[in-house]
């Protein structure tokens, strides 16, 4: 099996031996180019899953492979975005986007030589999420939705193969959130990037993902794997069809059980 992201029998404990078990016997695999969503009750270890899959933490049991390689250090082919946009307030939007390039190799050593090229790439990326013309603005001059778009751009600037999203839209209002679903959908379609989205919003998961994983309450493990067959490109309208509602409803039942 050649899954792009593969977790097998992963257990992780916080606070050393005898600490709380965050995830236990967790297995899941995501194909290259696939859009996977992980849903579950709050506190089920979804964020732990993020940290493990990106090599920020290591499991005490089980194996994690990304692109066929065991994860032993932070995974540089991953981009990350969180609920908080975490843009640096002293940098303009453009400078915020360039931050990953100042760190990740090989861009880091090429930065001064290829500055123009990188700036052009950043501008293009901003334009592709509807942020054309804001590159000179500071984060506090942008709305919450715009900051989130910029944060997504920052996660993508070094052209990662894997995008990890930890409840990226949870702090936004419903309209902005749906707008950003469209942005993510288009980014995924345009770049054929593998996406793992952690969320507690079922509509979001079903609308965006090829496959939805339902996690149990802590210690988290995968209760259910549900393929979503709606044809791409998906329009927001499908979220109001009975077929869509049925899938969301079915997942909801499972989460309801998981909470008990």
């Amino acid at each position: 099996m050649s899954a792009f992201v593969a977790l097998e029998g992963v257990s992780h404990v916080y606070g050393g031996a005898g600490g709380t078990l965050a995830v236990e016997g967790l297995s899941l695999s995501v194909e290259r180019g696939e859009f996977a969503a992980v849903v579950g009750p709050s506190g089920c270890g979804k964020s732990t899953l993020m940290k493990l899959a990106t090599g920020l933490q290591f499991p005490f049991k089980g194996t994690i492979r990304i692109a066929g390689e065991a994860v032993t250090k932070p995974v540089k082919i991953a981009g990350m975005a969180f609920q908080a946009p975490t843009l640096l307030p002293w940098r303009t939007t453009l400078e915020n986007l360039l931050l990953p390039l100042e760190i990740v190799q090989p861009h880091r050593s090429q930065l001064s030589r290829k500055k123009g090229e990188y700036v052009a790439r950043a501008e293009k990326l901003l334009a592709s999420v509807g942020l054309g013309g804001v590159s000179a603005k500071y984060p506090w001059e942008l709305s919450g939705g715009m900051q989130m778009r910029a944060s997504l751009c920052r996660a993508l600037i070094h052209e990662p193969d894997l995008l990890m999203l930890d409840e990226p839209f949870a702090a936004l209002d419903a309209f902005t959130r749906e707008e950003l679903w469209g942005v993510i959908r288009d980014l995924h379609a345009a770049r054929r990037i593998t996406v793992v989205l952690v969320t507690h919003d079922l509509r979001e998961a079903v609308f965006l993902a090829d496959r939805v994983f339902v996690m149990s309450a802590r210690p988290g493990r995968i209760l259910l794997e549900r393929r979503v067959h709606f044809e791409r490109p998906r329009d927001l309208e499908i979220t109001y069809t009975p077929e869509f509602q049925a899938v969301a409803h079915e997942l909801r039942e499972h989460i309801h059980k998981a909470r008990q």
């Binding site: 940290k51 990106t54 090599g55 920020l56 250090k73 932070p74 995974v75 540089k76 991953a78 981009g79 990350m80 975005a81 969180f82 609920q83 908080a84 975490t86 640096l88 307030p89 002293w90 931050l99 990953p100 100042e102 760190i103 990740v104 190799q105 500071y138 506090w140 920052r154 996660a155 070094h158």
Partner: protein, 256 residues
């Protein structure tokens, strides 16, 4: 009246009001000059002893600035160190708190024992009293980096030094420049305390001598000179803070 004009004038109006109140209180309550001299008597003493006040003010200012400069360098370095490692933080913090709790008046005799009276214990006292707020503020700036941001950078393979450079240091700058305002006024306290106890120069010494000769208006003239220096330096630090960290100061909270 125009709001911005009223804000601009407010400091002068309040200062003059205080002086007038002081003058009136002394006159109405018939307070003797050797107990509390009125502002006019203080002004007269300032005028009369101007050369001595001027010379000693400059001396105190120089002493303070040297101690303050040391405090900035040392405080910044120690703050970065403490913010860098939890172990160093855990180890040094109680020591620093303990050291800060020691009244610096008590340290002056030791400094005199080591360096003799005069200039050296004065700037060292200024340094010792003013570095603590700088350390604490710089360390706080580093300690409050958002964990998510740290994750994003670590995920890209950032070293601790990278995170420090790209996020930690810029982030702690507003805290650092904010602490300079506190530190500079403390530095004045330190140098004057030391001058009062063990020096032949400076405003502290001038006031001590004036006290010995019972020239109470001159004591107050010395106090006013110190206050003026303190205000000027505080203002200079505030300007520096605004210049360097404008991005951190966009709240309209206190502008009413």
């Amino acid at each position: 009246m125009n709001r911005s004009l009223s804000i601009r004038l407010a400091p002068w109006v309040f200062t003059i009001a205080l002086l007038v109140l002081w003058e009136l209180a002394v006159a109405l309550l018939r307070i003797p000059v050797f107990f509390l001299p009125p502002p006019t008597a203080v002004a007269r003493a300032t005028f009369e002893f101007w050369p001595a006040i001027y010379r000693n003010s400059l001396f105190t200012l120089a002493t303070t600035m040297i101690g303050f400069a040391l405090a900035v360098g040392f405080g910044l370095a120690l703050g970065l160190l403490v913010g860098w490692s939890r172990t160093i933080y855990a180890g040094l913090y109680p020591l620093m708190v303990g050291f800060n709790a020691i009244p610096k008046v008590a340290v002056v005799p030791i400094l005199v024992l080591w360096f003799g009276i005069g200039f050296v214990p004065a700037f060292l006292t200024a340094f010792l009293i003013s570095f603590f707020p700088i350390v604490v503020n710089v360390a706080t700036g580093l300690a409050t980096i958002e964990p998510e941001l740290e994750d994003v950078l670590k995920g890209l393979g950032a070293s601790k030094l990278d995170i420090m450079q790209k996020v930690g240091i810029p982030r702690s700058l507003p805290y650092f420049f904010g602490s300079l305002k506190v530190a500079i006024t403390l530095a004045f306290v330190g140098s004057v305390v030391s001058e009062t106890i063990a020096s032949n120069y400076g405003i502290g010494n001038l006031m001590l001598q004036a006290q010995a000769q019972f020239q109470v208006p001159l004591i107050f003239a010395g106090l006013i000179a110190l206050a003026v220096e303190g205000i000027v330096m505080y203002w200079a630090m505030a300007v520096l803070e605004r210049r360097m960290t404008g991005w951190a100061q966009r709240s309209g909270f206190a502008q009413g």
